[in-house]
Symmetry: D2
Subunit: 379 residues, 4 copies
Amino acid sequence: MRQHVPIRLGMVGGGAGAMIGNVHRIAARLDNRFRLLAGALSSTAEKAAASAAEAGIARSYDDFHEMARAEAARPDGIEAVAICTPNHLHFPVARAFLAQGIHVICDKPMTATLEQGRELAELARGSDALFVLTHNYSAYPQIRQARAMIARGDLGRLRLVQVEYAQDWLTEESRSKQAEWRGDPARAGAGGAIGDIGTHAFQLARFVTGMRPERIAADLSSFVPGRRLDDNAHVLMRYANGAKGMLWVSQVAPGTENGLKLRVYGDKAGLEWAHETPETLWFTRFGQPAQKLRRAGPGTASGLDRLSRVPPGHPEGYLEGFGNLYAEAAEAIRARQAGRPLPGHLALPGIEDGLEGLCFIDACLRSHARDAAFVEVMP
Amino acid sequence: MRQHVPIRLGMVGGGAGAMIGNVHRIAARLDNRFRLLAGALSSTAEKAAASAAEAGIARSYDDFHEMARAEAARPDGIEAVAICTPNHLHFPVARAFLAQGIHVICDKPMTATLEQGRELAELARGSDALFVLTHNYSAYPQIRQARAMIARGDLGRLRLVQVEYAQDWLTEESRSKQAEWRGDPARAGAGGAIGDIGTHAFQLARFVTGMRPERIAADLSSFVPGRRLDDNAHVLMRYANGAKGMLWVSQVAPGTENGLKLRVYGDKAGLEWAHETPETLWFTRFGQPAQKLRRAGPGTASGLDRLSRVPPGHPEGYLEGFGNLYAEAAEAIRARQAGRPLPGHLALPGIEDGLEGLCFIDACLRSHARDAAFVEVMP
Amino acid sequence: MRQHVPIRLGMVGGGAGAMIGNVHRIAARLDNRFRLLAGALSSTAEKAAASAAEAGIARSYDDFHEMARAEAARPDGIEAVAICTPNHLHFPVARAFLAQGIHVICDKPMTATLEQGRELAELARGSDALFVLTHNYSAYPQIRQARAMIARGDLGRLRLVQVEYAQDWLTEESRSKQAEWRGDPARAGAGGAIGDIGTHAFQLARFVTGMRPERIAADLSSFVPGRRLDDNAHVLMRYANGAKGMLWVSQVAPGTENGLKLRVYGDKAGLEWAHETPETLWFTRFGQPAQKLRRAGPGTASGLDRLSRVPPGHPEGYLEGFGNLYAEAAEAIRARQAGRPLPGHLALPGIEDGLEGLCFIDACLRSHARDAAFVEVMP
Amino acid sequence: MRQHVPIRLGMVGGGAGAMIGNVHRIAARLDNRFRLLAGALSSTAEKAAASAAEAGIARSYDDFHEMARAEAARPDGIEAVAICTPNHLHFPVARAFLAQGIHVICDKPMTATLEQGRELAELARGSDALFVLTHNYSAYPQIRQARAMIARGDLGRLRLVQVEYAQDWLTEESRSKQAEWRGDPARAGAGGAIGDIGTHAFQLARFVTGMRPERIAADLSSFVPGRRLDDNAHVLMRYANGAKGMLWVSQVAPGTENGLKLRVYGDKAGLEWAHETPETLWFTRFGQPAQKLRRAGPGTASGLDRLSRVPPGHPEGYLEGFGNLYAEAAEAIRARQAGRPLPGHLALPGIEDGLEGLCFIDACLRSHARDAAFVEVMP
């Protein structure tokens, strides 16, 4: 009889009012693979305690350093920690927990600077603890389906990668908590939209196609007066095999919501996926009718059923996609704890994806400084 | 500081292989309002124990009678039970737990027969325990939005109610566990598609419009050879105020998935909602452009934000809708335990909805027996 | 060298302000198969002359009787006439031209009464002239595609036919010219919505499936105070082979425009078509991904290319569909004039379709008078 | 009484097998504003005569020079000529007819080279005859609606212009007549996809926004081995007011058909339009629900009804949009012939649009030669 034992989880950041903290908590809870037991949810002791109480977290800490030490010292201490802070804290928090051998599940972008990213990569490579980066969109079943189809050659030789991610919530100046730190280079890093959502778009295209652009050209804008970081980016991409692409991210496009969209075309077929209808993947072989491939429906690649909870027609969405990442993280953690290799079906974003995302941000800035000339992504 | 304490939950039915049991477990867990501690998940002791272990349930029972007694006797016994069995067990299980003062969250249709439904209604009226019927579709935010708009008169006087619910999974004879009991009158009751999904469609139209049809005419079919219950129903509806409607349910419509759709038209405006895109409600005032009303987006009626977890553009779906029902059940249970009246913003389906659903099934059968003549819904 | 010679066409009705007259003129002109040379476009001489001048029609008549006689007497007289009058004139006008051996292209419903329809059928059967009824929706390429697929067995044995046609333009009382005669039993006949758009919906389902319902049950309504004819109808259908169906027509559904929609399900596959996107036909084999079949695209049945003018992705619509009917009428007329049998690829609605439509109206009224009991369609 | 007299039209190019010739003929015929009387439809006399006969054209010429002279000499000669040849003939044909004072309706791109374009511009400026360039997409009613809304400030200050035009018909090497000349620099000019569809996309964005990009950066590709001209282009755009944009054109994107799409975002609102559903314009004011603006529906800007033939819900498409251009050309010609100024409501593309399109092609090539550096569009 297989006895279910959830992984003991902690959380840093994600206090009251932070959208993404609650998302992580739900995602961790969704499949019952984690139990959230400890947290340093806010930078002030009082708010941290209140947020922990509200979230039903037993052990609240005022400080993440203390939390890392104390939890590592407990026999029933947390096995993994979720990092949901503003970007500039990703590095010190991850470092503190990795140093204690505690697995890390961290929000993107990986760190606020490329230098931090490289340092973190060194640390992570030297640690037995896992580092998972929550590029959650890559855990949608139909994104995995797209990846499987490309990997097995359904599209033939790839030629075009069109990716975009458009939002409108920063169309006007905003004083919300979310907007505030994202607009502050000291906390967000040097990327605005390119860091916040550009890294998602970049990673999604990379993940699905298996290809990383060699060179990109980026034209960044800050449309809202007074804004210090980019709120829109137009990017051209060139791949080693001759494929080309475009990437557009914006947070000032009224009428869009969370409009992540990916289209990939090869010499045999094309694929289209949009986050607005995440359970549908459009697939068209050249010269044949378009097919509507549905999550868990006919045509689903083998092994993907484990990423579905309900049959097609019962919409799963953002939280379930995020939950898939947590479910794979749980599998990976249990394998690592047991000394087993990570199961081959896992496709968890990690340190390398994080570094690539930081290089993407860096390349955008370098290109922008040169009037959008093409630059190397990984210099 | 508000301390979060989940409600102690038990479950009857929903063992391994049952889709809906897992749905209830996720829905209960989603917002951390419940903790599942006890269960009688299967009719055989061994399977029950295995299922409980896999689901991480601490106390497994072989028998629901025993479970009701034992849990009621424990100081830390369950406060509520979720019933996920085939239809014929809804009645005895609900009766057993209500008798112990344990709140009941029960799948639909409420019971296998109208007689059982009436007896259960009597029991429930005499109990302090709550009875919640999981007509989950009525807990979608945009369904609540539709209901609020109709209630405040946005559509004017209602004229037309078009509701449909089409699936294709029973297009051919099926030997799946799910199909098997649903096709057996002894376990499903006298309704096939009309009981399984017709009651959902009926309740949804009823819930949104606030109107119950007085008379209906039903033409039932069993298209698949050997099938003993209906797999398709065409129903006409007439309301007291002169409004009319149509209801179509089918489980033999290839290419449909879980196609619940509701359209309501008044003398001032019309509304359309489809489960395929549950976060969008179309609203058109006569003579004005159609508006796309999005979950948690502009135009959302006051008080509905509590049914959303993430901003518009981050798709929520079936499990979140189901979770809304559990969240409201938690609120209701806590209010009842505290001796407070149920909060006015709750809109939980219960005994009356269950009775109406059984009357709907009964009326369909009566009409069908008379060559689809109009009959009273509540005789 | 094939020399193109257009057919000489006349028109009765369709004067200034009449939408459908202009539609017929465009449809006739679209493929250059007709030249409009004569007309009795209005009931008053002055308006008739002004409308004819505006439409560039050389010969204007005050009276259709005179027109029929005069044109038949001319060596260069019209070969065919389009009838675009209110319903009550279809019969006398068609009779007048058929009597002169002039081919008739007539709007639907065929006549204002079933009795007239039967008399016209007698006349038409005794004439060498053709009678074409403009059930234009049946000439959309993807409707023809659907028909071809069903005929060759792609859907297997048919079980379900769901058809609807919803508009909103009569949601409130209207004094427009179009609304006025349609609301007057003396000019429209005994059917309101069932005559105006119900006959289209009925014919479309009939045309695509090849099946005519044996019995129907109809619940008619006149929602707008003072309205003398139905503005909404809910109809159940039963076919000889056990198939069932629903038909809904409404002219009081705010937010709908010209919402004709057809869905057909068999034991092997299903088809869906909606007028809002007339160039797409959805086809799903049970257990396979849905296919998006596009006008003139991959998968198009042989022989249908002649109904397309431009490649897929260059939208054709209502006027082109109507034009297809005129193009087939031209083919038929030229064949008849040459003494050849009508080409087998033509699928022109005619007298029999007109009679069936009138029987449908009649059956709806008979059923309605019996509290929506099932009645025979062709008594 | 207003007497309708069609304009006498001639055509050069557009013989049998040429898609666009038939499109021009239908568009000219649609609203009965033109009568096609003369043509030089093919480069060989025999084919020209056969094509003319088939199209019902009375006077067929072997040579366009002869046609220009002969028609100008006839009292009943053509008043206007439609040019539907491959690109390299646009210039000599237009020159020949303009020289005779015959109005020209010419396909795009205006000429095969920028030099020819400048020479033609000189000629046209010195002629009383009109020059109309068939950028047909700019004549869709909802494109005009978008333009009107932007002009009146509904979007506020414009920030972003995203335009794309994707096809798949050149995914593989093609030997079709259409593909052949388009792939030959001697006949198509120096632009492949950028000339054939890029000029459409460029003009559409220009037309709707009223803004012309100052600088662009273009990355061109020829994906199919052996192809001599570009089949894909990724372009960045920068406007004088700080607005930015992207333009993507492709003829190698499997699953796309004729996917022209335009999105414009300002600081107050956004607009989206896609050719797949040309009658819908999406409009969202920041912070309000999206509105679905339909051709001829509620919210239509004043004066646009003249571009519609049938009510909303009766789909009009590509041919009707093309027909709108012809209808406006007819109005312009009649005004010019009468010595009246061109009506203010006309929005006909002409010489300046043609020059801008050629400059766009030229700028793409200049940028591409400099590794996609930004270059001036109008040097």
